[in-house]
């Protein structure tokens, strides 16, 4: 997709297509020379797990902040369940959120943090989704320790637990597995899938493309504040026309491939080369390399989100 102003990550049956999260012509300008988000648009339908992808500085966190009313858009709007989001919009009661790293009152225990967070909204702590939250946090007796003694991973798990206290219909998570070990990351991914199976809608940002590929049904790709692509992860991956070539002389091979028509880019990827094709076929590349006297050891078609992601960003220039 080439620099569309608006995309959709929503597909599926008619009811499921009703957008839960809508971002329309969203723009955030911090100053005359800092445009964090530029005319962004996408939708997320009920039950989807949508990944928000982009390099550092793409505007992912700014977008998520505008979605939950922490930041006011310069123009455009964000909606959840059809309600335009402003600071403290009532609809935010249906949203569980963790923006950037999970933060707490450091001198309070994990449990007191959860309790005061819940009670601040006027709720009875007995009504909170505490059992599931504590299972997610998996802190054991450490739940009664002061948060300042927690590791980053423990805080992150407690942050996800806090987001789940209100049995949210929508989860908006910014880098939810940041700081977690591989086992914890897997648990969080499984949790997100379970929540989606129960009908929750999840929008998460991540810089881990493999994570998005494993967890998300849909993805929105951003770069420099703009929408690059949006859709099913499977479609984005299939659209990738990247290939990997392992050769006996990578430096010469790179020169040969760069000189070819129908090749968008070549990147060294030890021990071979990753090639973004734009019209040329893999067999054309092999023929050119063989013709140049370069032995080709391996040729692999790439259908990974990482390649799709890098290809999309390369298209954006």
């Amino acid at each position: 997709m080439s620099s569309p102003a608006t995309g959709t990550a929503a597909t599926g049956a008619a009811d499921a297509n009703l957008p839960v999260i809508e971002v329309e012509h969203l723009t955030k300008r911090y100053s005359s020379d800092v445009l964090a988000v530029d005319d962004l648009g996408f939708q997320v339908a009920r039950g989807e797990v949508c990944g928000l992808l982009g390099p550092n500085g793409a505007g992912k966190t700014t977008t998520l902040r505008m979605l939950v009313g922490l930041i006011r858009p310069t123009s455009g709007a964000t909606r959840i369940f059809g309600t335009e989001i402003h600071p403290s919009s009532p609809v935010l009661a249906r949203v569980g959120t963790m923006i950037e790293h999970a933060a707490f009152v450091p001198y309070l225990t994990g449990m007191v943090n959860l309790r005061l967070y819940w009670e601040a909204g006027g709720g009875d702590f007995g009504d909170a989704n505490l059992d599931e939250a504590l299972a997610i946090a998996d802190l054991g007796t450490a739940i009664d320790r002061k948060v300042k003694t927690y590791s980053q991973g423990m805080r992150q798990r407690l942050g996800i637990a806090r987001a789940l206290l209100g049995r949210p219909e929508v989860l908006i998570l910014d880098e939810p597995t940041n700081g977690l070990d591989p086992g914890e990351m897997r648990e969080v991914r499984d949790l997100l899938r379970r929540l989606a199976d129960r009908g929750a809608t999840v929008l998460l940002s991540s810089h881990l493309l493999s994570e998005v590929e494993q967890v998300c049904s849909h993805a929105v790709v951003m770069d420099r504040g703009r929408l690059v692509a949006a859709g099913l992860v499977a479609d984005l991956v299939q659209a990738s026309t990247s290939a990997y070539f392992e050769v006996d002389d990578a430096a010469r091979a790179e020169e040969v491939i760069r000189a070819m028509a129908g090749v968008r880019g070549v990147r060294p990827e030890q021990p071979g080369l990753s090639v973004d094709l734009d019209g040329a076929r893999r067999s054309d590349v092999v023929a050119a390399l063989v013709h140049a006297g370069i032995a080709v050891e391996t040729v692999q078609s790439r259908h990974r989100l990482e390649d799709a992601f890098l290809g999309l960003l390369a298209e954006e220039g």
Partner: protein
């Protein structure tokens, strides 16, 4: 609002710095008594402030007045600036502010609960000075009625003072007056707290406006401008305990009581509080929460 206020106070009562700050307000009257016991003043040497310490050794009823006078000019200012300046900025510095604001709590309600709890802690700190002063003063020197104090110095008798009950009532008025005199500091520190992620910066800003005002108030060339400075009537409360005609003319009868300067001292902070809190509300309800 009540639930927010309740959770806010729960946080404050679990916070070590609350006990450190309030502990200072308890410690100073004890230190004053200890110092007076160790080195009792025989006669007042300096200005009127000295008389409070001098008289505190005659009856414990004067000790809270002396302690309040000592504290209100420096340490209490820091204590109230700490509670107010820390209110929002500390949550921002921990990153917890965004966790609170992604809920539909209402930014105005959050500010109100933070302000009320900070003000309440400041008031408690002010009252603790007087209560501690009364207790340790009474233990050290007894609670002799003011009218019974006869000074065997060349200065003559203290004169007919108010009843003990009236004296304690005046102490209550003094607590409220001193705290309200600091309301400009509270409002300014609170306003800065909504604008920064640095709690220390907001606390120092609160203390800074007090120091700035005191310095300007000391420049007599500023003339009537000084009457509009937030700290100009700061010490007017001691008229509640000052003999009519002043300490150098003891024996003239009752204390001065409520004065017109105290009335001005009550009215003056209103404008500052409205302006500072108005800016705080306007700013915070519109600010982009990035921390």
């Amino acid at each position: 609002m009540l639930s927010l206020f309740g959770t806010e106070m729960s946080k404050q009562w679990r916070r070590p710095r609350t006990y450190v700050a309030l502990g200072l307000t308890v410690a100073v009257p004890i230190i004053v008594v200890t110092a007076l016991k160790a080195n009792p003043p025989s006669t007042p040497r300096g200005g009127e402030g000295d008389f409070f310490f001098f008289l505190a050794t005659r009856t414990g009823l004067f000790l809270p007045v002396a302690a309040l006078r000592v504290m209100s000019r420096f340490l209490l200012v820091i204590v109230v600036a700490l509670f107010a300046g820390d209110a929002i900025a500390s949550e921002a510095s921990w990153g917890n502010l965004r966790a609170m604001l992604v809920r539909p709590l209402g930014r105005g309600r959050l500010l109100s609960s933070k302000l009320v709890s900070a003000a309440l802690l400041g008031l408690i700190g002010t009252a603790l000075i007087v209560v501690t002063g009364l207790v340790v003063g009474g233990i050290a020197y007894g609670w002799h009625p003011i009218s019974s104090i006869h000074l065997t110095t060349t200065l003559g008798p203290l004169g007919v003072g108010p009843s003990t009950l009236h004296w304690i009532f005046n102490l209550g008025i003094a607590v409220l007056y001193v705290f309200w005199s600091l309301s400009s500091v509270v409002a300014f520190a609170f306003m800065v707290s909504t604008m920064t992620d640095s709690p220390a910066g907001a606390v120092f800003a609160g203390f800074g406006i007090y120091v700035f005002s005191q310095i300007l108030d000391g420049i007599s060339s500023l003339g009537s401008i000084r009457y509009a400075l937030p700290t100009h009537y700061f010490d007017a409360w001691d008229a509640l305990f000052r003999p009519k005609g002043g300490f150098f003319r003891l024996g003239t009868g009752q204390v001065e009581g409520w004065t017109s300067d105290m009335t001005r001292g009550v009215l003056l902070p209103i404008a500052y509080v409205l302006v500072f809190l108005g800016i705080a509300w306007y700013h915070f309800r519109r600010k982009d929460v990035l921390s």
